[in-house]
């Protein structure tokens, strides 16, 4: 059974809506800017790629929940699904997020999540406190989108988005559900800025510059994206146009170290995603490409292990050079980016990769977009804890 993505939506630092996002990718637009969402003056790094989106004015929900709701509804509309049709079918829901509606900064956390500390309490606080849990964003999505076959979230750090899409594919292939709405969301928080800061994982210059000799760390980003996953045949039968086929999925764990990625684990996930295909069929690799020294080196090594001599000539892009790293959401956001590139016939450029690291021996697409003639893409996502996920997306 061929499983397809039949609807998508995205809110990203380089463009909203599918057309805006596609244009941002093609142009290699820069998402990084000084942080505006909170006062970052106490932090060593004060740049990030934020999403310029405010949402409805009077919402009781967190911005993360509102972003998730917006892209969830957007993907269903893009798939041409009406509420009545949803209610009749078995639609599952998977949320990919690390922080969901968590407080944005220390002031917010102190005020909302801990009224007891300050002897405060109040009705408005209770709802906001609840919305801090990922389960609440999920519940809001299930209520708004009517998805009730199952609803859970994946919180496997930065690999969550691809894990979620992979699990959706398996559930469709096993006939358990008719469709799965996968939603990824992450907003910028002081929590993540501090945490990645003390891990020395963030670029302190004008990066991130993935796969560049001078790469010095990643850049945090925000993002929300959703995809509707269903059997290609079902999508066509109800008159929808499948946007891309999910042709393979693989996942693995390093079982070695919390924060130091291993090439062997990543290679296993990639090989598993490619099983049933020939590696020669892959036209482009959408790398995880965080821009840290370790990640990019391990990913390069894994690509060489999987593709052999072809690795050095295989076009490769890091979208995080444009979008920043939206952690749990990044897998879904970048998968939407891959599908847009497939349908637009281009390989988006990697920003800031001015001196590709010769030690990595990769064909990094930099400067300007390249044409994409055929259309089979390997997308990677790796995360804290040694989690690896890979997806093969193919023009439908």
């Amino acid at each position: 059974m061929r499983v397809a993505i039949s609807g998508m939506a995205a809110l990203t630092p380089i463009g909203h809506g599918l057309a805006g996002f596609a244009a941002g990718l093609r142009e290699g637009r820069e998402g990084a800017a000084p942080i505006r969402r909170f006062d970052a003056s106490r932090h060593r790094v004060q740049r990030a790629a934020e999403v310029d989106w405010e949402g409805p004015g009077e919402s009781p929900w967190s911005r993360a929940s509102e972003m998730a709701l917006a892209v969830g509804a957007g993907a269903l509309a893009d798939a041409g699904l009406e509420a009545a049709e949803l209610a009749r079918s078995r639609t599952g829901l998977i949320l990919a997020s690390s922080q969901a509606g968590m407080a944005v900064d220390a002031r917010g956390y102190g005020r909302l999540s801990h009224p007891y500390r300050q002897g405060l309490a109040g009705d408005g606080l209770a709802v906001r406190m609840l919305d801090a849990a990922p389960a609440s964003t999920l519940d809001l999505l299930a209520i708004r989108c009517g998805a009730s076959a199952f609803a859970f979230n994946l919180s496997t750090a930065c690999s969550a988005g691809l894990h979620a899409i992979g699990i959706a594919r398996e559930a469709i292939r096993r006939g358990e559900v008719d469709a799965v709405l996968v939603v990824g969301v992450e907003v910028l928080t002081e929590f993540a800025l501090a945490g990645f800061g003390v891990l020395r994982a963030l670029t302190i210059g004008s990066g991130p510059r993935p796969f560049d000799e001078l790469r010095d760390g990643t850049l945090l980003g925000e993002g929300a994206a959703a995809v509707l996953v269903e059997a290609e045949e079902r999508a066509r039968a109800r008159g929808a146009t499948p946007r891309a086929e999910i042709a393979g999925y693989g996942s693995s764990t390093d079982g070695d170290h919390m924060t130091r990625p291993q090439a062997a684990g990543a290679a296993r996930a990639m090989a598993q995603a490619l099983s049933g295909l020939h590696p020669e069929q892959v036209d482009w690799v959408k790398a995880h490409g965080t821009g840290t020294r370790h990640n990019d080196a391990a990913e390069a090594q894994a690509i060489h292990a999987v593709f052999g001599r072809r690795a050095a000539a295989l076009p490769l892009t890091s979208m995080k050079s444009l979008l920043g790293h939206s952690l749990g959401a990044s897998g879904v956001v970048e998968a939407v980016g891959v599908v847009l590139a497939l349908s637009g016939g281009f390989v988006p450029p990697t920003r800031n990769c001015e001196r590709p690291d010769p030690a990595l021996a990769l064909d990094v697409v930099a400067g300007a977009a390249r044409p994409l003639i055929a259309g089979c893409v390997l997308a990677n996502a790796f995360g804290f804890g040694g989690n690896n996920a890979a997806l093969v997306l193919r023009a439908a």
Partner: protein
């Protein structure tokens, strides 16, 4: 999870079985202690001594006692690991020893880990926020930050036992435990693994207690009495529990002792209102029906229901309505909820419930309904009473249902007669 076929070999590859269990509960480490506590009707809820409860209406809860882990491991980072990782590792150790006493029989690449938790990571993230509020970002300990990702516990297990299959971590409310079980079964059925550690952990913390108290969810009378007419909220508990899942074919091939068959897992969601259960429990009804359908079973086969009721007025009523809907209003199927004894251990309650149900299949002892003495006349359920003798139990249905509404799950377990 099986759909009957004519081919016994195919069937055996499709049957999911449990070959090991482990638990850390308010009764201490070990499945035996957990079962002794709940079978004895021993209520683990006590006045809270581990943190300040000034200003709270509820002042009781169930905490895991200090564990004597001197024999466990002193060499690795175990002692410095956060509580969630330590408890879960102790449970994994027990489950693996039961499933494979002579060492791991599987290739490391073929062992997956699926864990669920509701709020189990908040203890660590709270520490980081405290640094950000009271000090400076640069004083956040780096080794603490990496422990805040929900999959940190699964990773700690993978690293300690050298496991390299897929790790999934779910944080979607109370039903996270059975959702993790669902993903574990999916991994086995798609042949992505030979064995999966499926488990849960959740912690009783100061922040969780105060949050729930502020929200008016906790019992001001400090009593956990599921299905009782005087129930007025839940009390918090904590724990970690893990089961080892394999296919029948895999377990048989290595001569493992099979404890039960996980014959059907049903998931559902109320999709009704924020922070409230659907009054008719539609999400749970769907989950129960899906679990029965996946097991190709009828309600008449069910000998015991391990309920999710936690002493919350709306949740307990919604669950009772769901049972009536699926089993008929006059059903005499025995029902009990462990939460009268253990408190609401969130996702950890899922696996406590599963373990108690598996024990019932292997000896016929049903957990008595602790804490409840005036059954709500609106409930009409046949609650298991202390002193009820053993009964033959061939199949159980174990429930999970979020107390804020939303996620629901049910697991149909069948006795193993290999």
């Amino acid at each position: 999870m099986s759909h009957p076929t004519n081919n016994p070999a195919t069937e055996a590859r499709r049957r999911i079985v449990v070959t090991g269990m482990g638990a850390v509960s308010p009764y201490g480490p070990g499945v035996d202690r957990l079962l002794a506590g709940i079978h004895g009707g021993e209520v683990a809820l006590r006045p809270i001594a581990v943190f300040n409860v000034d200003g709270c209406r509820a002042t009781h809860g169930a905490s895991i006692p200090d564990l004597d882990l001197s024999g466990f491991d002193a060499s690795s980072g175990f002692r410095r690991a956060p509580r969630a990782s330590r408890y879960t590792m102790v449970a994994v150790d027990e489950a693996l020893r039961a499933a494979a006493p002579d060492g791991l029989p599987w290739a490391p690449e073929r062992v997956g880990v699926c864990l669920g938790t509701y709020r189990g990571m908040t203890e660590i993230s709270e520490m980081i926020w405290t640094k950000l509020i009271d000090a400076e970002p640069r004083f956040v300990p780096a080794l603490l930050f990496q422990e805040t990702v929900t999959n940190a516990v699964a990773s700690a297990i993978s690293i300690r036992w050298g496991l390299r299959g897929t790790n999934y971590a779910i944080s979607a409310g109370n039903a996270s435990g059975y959702q993790a079980l669902y993903l574990a079964a999916q991994m086995l059925l798609t042949d992505a693994a030979d064995a999966v550690l499926a488990g849960t952990f959740d912690l009783f913390t100061e922040a969780n207690h105060h949050d729930m108290d502020d929200l008016g969810m906790l019992s001001p009378s400090n009593a956990s009495r599921p299905f009782d007419s005087r129930r007025d909220g839940f009390l918090m508990g904590e724990g970690a529990a893990v089961v080892v899942l394999e296919t029948e074919a895999g377990a048989r091939a290595r001569g493992a002792t099979i404890l039960a068959e996980v014959a059907g897992i049903g998931l559902g969601h109320d999709a009704y209102g924020f922070a409230t259960n659907h009054p008719e429990g539609v999400g749970l009804v769907a989950a129960m029906e899906r679990a029965l359908a996946a097991a190709d079973a009828t309600p008449a086969e069910v000998d015991y229901i391990g309920a999710a009721a936690n002493s919350t007025p709306s949740l307990d009523r919604a669950e009772a309505r769901a049972i009536h809907k699926v089993f008929g209003p006059g059903s005499a199927v025995p029902v009990s909820s462990l939460k009268g004894a253990t408190g609401e251990a969130m996702a950890a309650s899922d696996m406590f419930n599963l373990i108690a149900s598996i024990a019932a299949l292997n000896g016929g002892r049903l957990p008595p309904q602790a804490g409840t003495d005036r059954v709500d006349p609106d409930i009409h359920l046949n609650l298991v009473r202390q002193g009820d003798g053993p009964v033959p139990v061939a199949a159980c249905l174990a429930h999970s249902y979020s107390y804020f509404g939303g996620s629901a799950a049910a697991v149909f377990l069948r006795i193993w007669q290999g």
